[in-house]
């Protein structure tokens, strides 16, 4: 997955110069345009348990992950230098991602690995402390960092760089950016979705697609977990053959050896399912990544709705103010307004008052026009950039999932081969009975 992230880049920054000798670039298979990843190698090497006091001053145990970075120059020179490293908890990764989403609303930001184990088939533990879960999370976190560091836009972010290089004080620096203020309120976003009128069709299609992607990946994950459960049962029952063949062989003379050996093969068969299903978890993780990606994609589409909506609101506001000005100027009331009503009821106001109001209106209109210009630009920029990034995402998704499916097929073939092997061995034993 990490490799793909690096390869799958639409080079918007394709013109930037490589900072290291071409040789090491080619060795790493890194393409132009991913500035951070070209400058350093990133990995999440380990996981450890720590205990400490949380925000409500209660003792808790949590896991920290070791992030190691090495500059590319160091790598190309020799492998002797120790990498720089620091420890981060999952919540810090979450904070980083929240920051990136708010700061770059046109980017489909890579997701984090799941917070809690979901779509679990019965034997697999749903415990966050389980070593297998921690290991898979470590891999997922590394994948996240590599994807983000290889993104043409995100890789240039200072906060990201800081996250990777300075252990202490990072949280404060993030909060200081004030990104939280920029975060959309849910309510505003929802309102925009319902009330916006002229959305870009491509974005609406993409939003619809993100719903489909989410629905299908979650259905698939659920179905896969159920299949895994059942398959486990089938394999394990065969273990009983091992026991009964062994018992039976005790009362046989010529058949005894053959039966006994066959029984061992049945035991091996029953035991083999554990590794097979553990390996399949990797496939499930890939699906989970894209399940989360669907949400990120939808967020970008919602941002479009929001910017478009704000533009429409601003335009609407401007229009109504201009109308008010016209009415004031000409005295003709075309639309219902409170002022118009009071005028009718209480008579026209004095010319000085009207002048004052007109002047105010002109100011507001000027402001409004600026706002509209701003919003137009904002909306336009978002549309352009987001469209580019969504294309990038789509290509990446197609490539990643296609590879995931191929790998899944390879896993299945491997399982079939193992099955053939075991049963052939058993058959040999039966023939010798």
């Amino acid at each position: 997955m990490a490799e793909d992230g690096r390869d799958e880049l639409l080079g918007t920054d394709g013109d930037s110069e490589p900072l290291v000798a071409g040789r090491s670039l080619r060795n790493k298979g890194v393409e132009q345009g991913c500035s951070l990843l070209r400058r350093m190698e990133i990995c999440v090497a380990e996981a450890e348990k720590r205990s400490g006091r949380n925000t409500v001053n209660m003792q808790e145990i949590f896991t920290v992950y070791l992030i190691e970075t090495r500059s590319m120059e160091a790598v190309s020179e020799g492998h002797n230098s120790a990498p720089d490293s620091l420890w981060r908890r999952y919540s810090e990764f979450e904070l980083l991602r929240s920051y990136l989403i708010v700061t770059y609303p046109h980017v489909v930001v890579a997701p984090l690995p799941e917070k809690r184990a979901e779509f679990v088939w019965h034997k697999l533990s749903a415990d966050n402390m389980d070593p297998d879960f921690v290991e898979r999370r470590r891999v997922g976190l590394e994948n996240f960092l590599v994807r983000v560091a290889s993104h043409s836009v995100l890789s240039n972010d200072k906060i990201l760089y800081h996250f990777l290089t300075e252990e202490h004080g990072w949280r404060e620096v993030v909060y200081e950016t004030g990104f939280q203020a920029k975060a959309e309120s849910r309510l505003r976003a929802l309102s925009a979705t319902f009330r916006v009128r002229n959305t870009d069709k491509r974005f609406m299609d993409m939003k619809h697609y993100s719903d489909e992607l989410q629905s299908h990946t979650s259905q698939l994950l659920r179905a896969r977990a159920r299949v895994a459960d059942r398959l486990y049962g089938v394999f394990k029952v065969h273990g009983n053959y091992g026991r009964v063949f062994s018992e039976w062989s005790a009362i046989e003379k010529e058949m005894g050896d053959g039966l006994q050996s066959a029984g061992h093969h049945m035991d091996a068969y029953a035991a083999s399912i554990d590794d097979i299903l553990e390996e399949e978890e990797h496939y499930a993780d890939q699906l989970k990544e894209y399940l989360s990606y669907a949400e990120a994609l939808r967020a970008v589409c919602r941002k479009h709705e929001l910017t478009q909506f704000e533009l429409e609101m601003a335009s609407q506001d401007l229009i109504s103010k201009k109308q008010q000005r016209e009415e004031l100027a000409t005295g003709i009331v075309r639309t219902f307004s409170f002022k118009g009503m009071t005028n009718k009821l209480f008579g026209q106001e004095a010319p000085e008052q009207r002048e004052a109001r007109l002047k105010l209106l002109e100011e507001l209109i000027a402001e409004g026009e600026d706002t509209v210009k701003e919003k137009t630009v904002e909306c336009q920029e978002h549309v352009e950039r987001a469209w580019v990034d969504m294309q990038r995402f789509e290509e990446q998704k197609d490539k990643d999932l296609r590879e995931a499916l191929i790998n899944y097929a390879v896993m299945q073939i491997s399982m079939c081969k193992k099955g053939i092997q075991v049963w052939s061995n058993a058959k040999e034993c039966f023939i010798k009975m």
């Binding site: 299908h216 159920r226 089938v234 018992e247 999932l401 097929a409 099955g419 049963w423």
Partner: protein, 443 residues
């Protein structure tokens, strides 16, 4: 369990009777076949007991013909070479096939075609083709048991089926039953003694099995064993027969366990199949909302469908072929146990009479009554027959299970091969597309 091959015919025991020291005889007297039996040299059709009743000897297994056979050293040696008929010397071939439904006013039933090919002179024609129903097979089995009580008769498939639960006319049921009947008949035909039974002859050749009137048949030898044995208390079994009994008990138990495991596997496989089908449809429906990924996703769905089909075949085979054979063996074991019990009864009779005779002899010095000697003969005969049959049974069992288990392994291998090829074709499909894409990119 292995017993050294008896020198004589299956029914002639460890040693010819002539050489066994009679327990009531004085030590220095070698036993002669008995002062009261007249033996014809060379002839195996005529033998007469002291009381003048002719002994029916057309079946070589009847106890009395034993004495005649003893004289035919050549025959004994030839038969010593094989305990059971090898394929090269087999001269009787039977097949059961072609089930047909018959509807009459009274009932509906299935008949099967029974085809015979033979060079034996006991049969008038070299080939026969008759139709028989289950009842007829049952009749044959009963007749064989009655006339050859010292031998193990192979079992038949279950007679009664609950009408509401099992469909007696379903293709699967008929097929399974037919295979079991075929096996039964083949086992009888391969048996060196049973295959000469006139009831079998009638079964294979007569146009109409007129069961009620019966055939001008046979000896009451078998019946006498049943009638008399009831009155005597059972004695402990000799060690070798004990061991047989224990073996049968344990074996029966193990087969029961295997049956349960197989049923459980079938059940688990069925549930797995249900989930797998659903799983496949999710891929198909996802494919509908994708462009580039549509083909790969549909490909996965199709591979999953292939696996579903393969799994169905595997489970069906386990139900149709594996389980019935297993269950049939359990019946076979029951038959064998019955024979052991009959042997016990016959021994009980002999030892009972012997005890009584010994008491009397001590009292009034009369010679050993003939009945006791006859009983002894029966017991020895029985033991010999049983041991020989046991050997055959063990050997057949080994072959049968080798075949059964190898078949099971084969079906599983087959299943995985089908699945593997389903997935491999997906990879080929996707890789072809990849090369297509690459060439179109470079162009």
């Amino acid at each position: 369990m292995s017993v050294a091959a008896p020198r004589g015919l299956a029914s002639s025991g460890q040693k010819p009777i002539a050489e066994v020291l009679h327990p009531l005889a004085a030590a220095e007297e070698p036993l002669s076949p008995g002062p009261d039996v007249t033996v014809d040299d060379g002839g195996d059709q005529e033998a007469v007991l002291t009381n003048g009743t002719p002994v029916e000897t057309s079946s070589p297994a009847s106890a009395s013909s034993l004495f005649n056979r003893l004289q035919l050293e050549d025959d004994l040696e030839a038969d010593a070479r094989d305990l059971y008929v090898s394929t090269e010397t087999r001269d009787l071939f039977v097949t059961v096939d072609d089930p047909k439904k018959h509807v009459s006013t009274m009932e509906t039933y299935i008949t099967y075609r029974v085809s015979t090919k033979t060079t034996r002179i006991e049969f008038d024609l070299p080939e026969y083709c008759v139709r028989r129903r289950y009842q007829d097979f049952d009749w044959l089995r009963i007749k064989l048991e009655d006339s050859q009580p010292t031998h193990l008769i192979p079992p038949l498939p279950e007679k009664f089926v609950m009408k509401g639960v099992v469909d007696r006319f379903s293709e699967e049921f008929v097929e399974t039953r037919m295979k079991a009947l075929d096996k039964f008949l083949k086992r009888v035909a391969d048996h060196p003694v049973l295959s000469f039974n006139p009831h079998l002859n009638a079964f294979l050749s007569a146009k109409d099995l007129n069961k009620r009137q019966g055939l001008a048949l046979l000896t009451k030898v078998g019946e006498s064993v049943k009638q008399v044995a009831g009155g005597y208390k059972l004695r402990p079994r000799p060690a070798e027969f004990c061991a047989m009994g224990e073996y049968l008990d344990t074996f029966s138990q193990k087969l029961g366990t295997i049956d349960r495991i197989a049923q459980r596997i079938i059940k688990e496989q069925s549930e797995y199949l249900t989930e797998l089908r659903e799983y496949g449809t999710v891929y198909s429906s996802w494919a509908g909302s994708e462009e580039e990924l549509r083909r790969p996703l549909e490909g996965v769905a199709s591979s999953v469908t292939t696996c579903c089909g393969a799994l169905e075949d595997l489970s069906e085979n386990m139900s149709q072929d594996f389980l019935p054979v297993l269950r049939e063996y359990v019946l076979y074991i029951e038959s064998m146990k019955n024979v052991l019990r009959k042997r016990d009864q016959s021994q009980a009779e002999y030892e009972g009479r012997l005890e009584a005779a010994v008491l009397r002899k001590q009292e009034d010095r009369t010679p050993l009554p003939l009945e006791v000697e006859k009983c002894q003969d029966k017991v020895e005969c029985f033991n010999a027959d049983l041991k020989a049959d046991w050997e055959r049974w063990q050997s057949n069992k080994r072959q049968d299970f080798k075949q059964l288990l190898t078949g099971m392994a084969d079906k599983n291998i087959n299943y995985y091969e089908k699945c593997q090829s389903g997935w491999e074709s997906l990879i080929t499909l996707l890789q072809d597309k990849q090369t297509e894409d690459k060439t179109s990119e470079t162009n």
